[in-house]
């Protein structure tokens, strides 16, 4: 009984201290996020939403790009 009590107590204390140490490792808060920056962020107009959704998405542009035609004057030789 005593042995079980001691093991149980040790586990509880262990959990307690480990939780304390985890808290100590958390990065210190640097204050509230700069609310003014969030407010200053321009928002796309509704009429441009789909245009910008695509033209700001690199992967979507890669996926939907048409293969480029060869350079118009690729067969040229010498200095132009």
């Amino acid at each position: 009984m005593n042995k079980n009590f001691l093991i149980g107590t040790a586990l509880v204390l262990g959990l307690f201290f480990s939780s304390c140490s985890a808290q100590a490792e958390m990065p210190a808060e640097t204050g509230t996020p700069a609310e003014t920056e969030v407010e200053a962020m321009p928002t796309p107009s509704v009429e441009s939403g789909e245009c910008l959704a695509c033209h700001t998405d690199k992967q979507r542009l890669i996926d939907t790009a048409k293969p480029e035609e060869a350079d118009h004057e690729a067969e040229s030789k010498g200095v132009g």
Partner: protein, 425 residues
């Protein structure tokens, strides 16, 4: 300049762009199309380059520039037609062939507002500069020298191996628009509004705008005073170094791909002084550096026979303003480095036989004589200032009115050069 990936060309930086004045407009206000997710539907009816119509898309805010720019050389490309028509002889029957040639090979150099201020020129593959943010000052290497690279860009930036970049770039990090101001580029000055060629009208920019002492002869530099304070020699004669010339450009359409292409036969480095072929009040210089342009009598043969029947009407060694200015150059190191140095003058032996007639106005008879000869020359009598005629040989060839006959050693000289040595007191 490395080409951009297709996605890179159209990637918008919404945070930066929406914070600008242009970002207050919706995409569709300028580009048309439809605000839907499907690409093909969105792009139906899209205007990729709205500023090709500055009166429609730009004038509301940029009224003056939008009104002027369509007559600027970057828009009209009038300089091409000025030389094409001259060398063709302006034969009406040839115009359809020349139009086709021009549209295939030359028209790609036409520049819209956007191709300087928001994206790279189409001529070099296009692509937004900075996520669709408009740049008041075009970025030099992605805009100006992207097109003007093989000659001006390489000279200015020092990319010609063995030859330094322009002092204005090396020492002062000046970019193109420091000299070539917006009003000039937009066709808003007297010289550039509706210009037929970049060398028409007032010289602009002009070195003496920033270096006025040279023009007044008051900078204490003897060589400036001795050479007419900037009227006998263009500044580049003494202050530019070796630059590129090209030969034999021919254009055609590929049988394989159907695309137009060109082939230049040779590119080489030169520094040659010739007579000024366009001597005017605005450009009074007797001597200027000359650069060989790659035109040949058969350059446009693919499009028709004898399209350059008037080939000899313009020189192939043309007035040039190399963009590699240096304070000290090989030719200004001493008097002898230029005088009596035939290596740096465009004499007839340096011109190909079939081009001799075209270049008769620029070919120099011989290098200028020793400086001692100039200094020892008898000055003109004071009364000569009042003479109506400046044709010295009218009297001095025959000895009219007891004028001393010029010596045999002068026979190779041209009459307009007398006052170079025989100055008024």
């Amino acid at each position: 300049m490395a080409p951009l990936e297709p996605w890179e060309k159209v990637l918008v930086n919404s945070e930066a762009f929406l914070a600008t004045d242009h970002g207050e407009l919706t995409c569709i206000e300028c580009h048309s199309g439809t605000n839907v997710a499907d690409k093909d539907s969105a792009h139906a009816g899209m205007v990729a380059s709205p500023s090709e119509q500055p009166d429609v898309y730009c004038a509301e805010c940029h009224e003056e520039i939008s009104a002027a720019y369509p007559s600027a050389l970057h828009s009209t490309q009038a300089g091409y037609w000025t030389t094409l028509n001259a060398r063709n002889g302006n034969v009406p029957e040839d115009h359809p062939a020349l139009d086709t040639m021009f549209n295939n090979h030359c028209a790609t150099c036409h520049t819209s507002c956007g191709e300087c201020h928001v994206s790279q020129p189409k001529n070099v593959g296009g692509g937004l500069f900075t996520g669709h943010v408009f740049e008041k000052t075009p970025p030099m290497t992605r805009s100006c020298t992207a097109c003007h690279g093989s000659r001006v860009g390489n000279e200015f930036l020092g990319k010609n191996e063995g030859f330094p970049g322009d002092v204005h770039f090396r020492e002062a990090r000046m970019n193109c628009v420091k000299c070539h101001e917006g009003a000039e580029l937009h066709g808003m000055t007297d010289a550039t509004a509706g210009a037929e060629h970049r060398l028409n009208g007032e010289e602009s920019p002009k070195c003496t705008d920033c270096h006025p002492d040279v023009a007044h002869g008051s900078d204490g530099i003897e060589m400036h005073a001795q050479h007419g304070g900037g009227t006998t020699l263009s500044c580049q004669v003494c202050h530019s170094v070796t630059y590129t010339s090209c030969d034999g450009c021919h254009v055609a359409v590929s049988e394989k791909s159907g695309n137009p292409f060109f082939e230049t036969q040779a590119t080489y480095m030169t520094f040659l002084i010739g007579r000024n072929p366009i001597q005017t009040e605005e450009r009074p210089y007797k001597f200027v550096p000359v650069r060989h342009v790659p035109v040949a009598p058969t350059s446009y043969q693919f499009y028709g026979e004898n399209l350059l029947t008037n080939f000899d009407s313009l020189p192939t060694w043309v007035y040039t303003t190399p963009h590699n200015i240096q304070r000290n150059t090989p030719q200004n190191a001493s008097c002898e480095a230029c005088h009596t140095n035939p290596e740096i003058f465009l004499t007839a032996d340096k011109v190909q036989a079939f081009e001799l007639n075209a270049n008769r106005k620029v070919i120099v008879g011989s290098a200028p004589g020793p400086v001692e000869m100039f200094l020892a020359a008898i000055p003109q009598p004071a009364g000569h200032a009042d003479l109506a005629s400046d044709a010295c040989t009218a009297c001095h060839a025959e000895g009219i009115r007891n004028a001393p006959i010029f010596p045999e050693s002068h026979i190779g000289f041209t009459s307009d050069g007398c006052i170079g040595c025989h100055k008024l007191p």
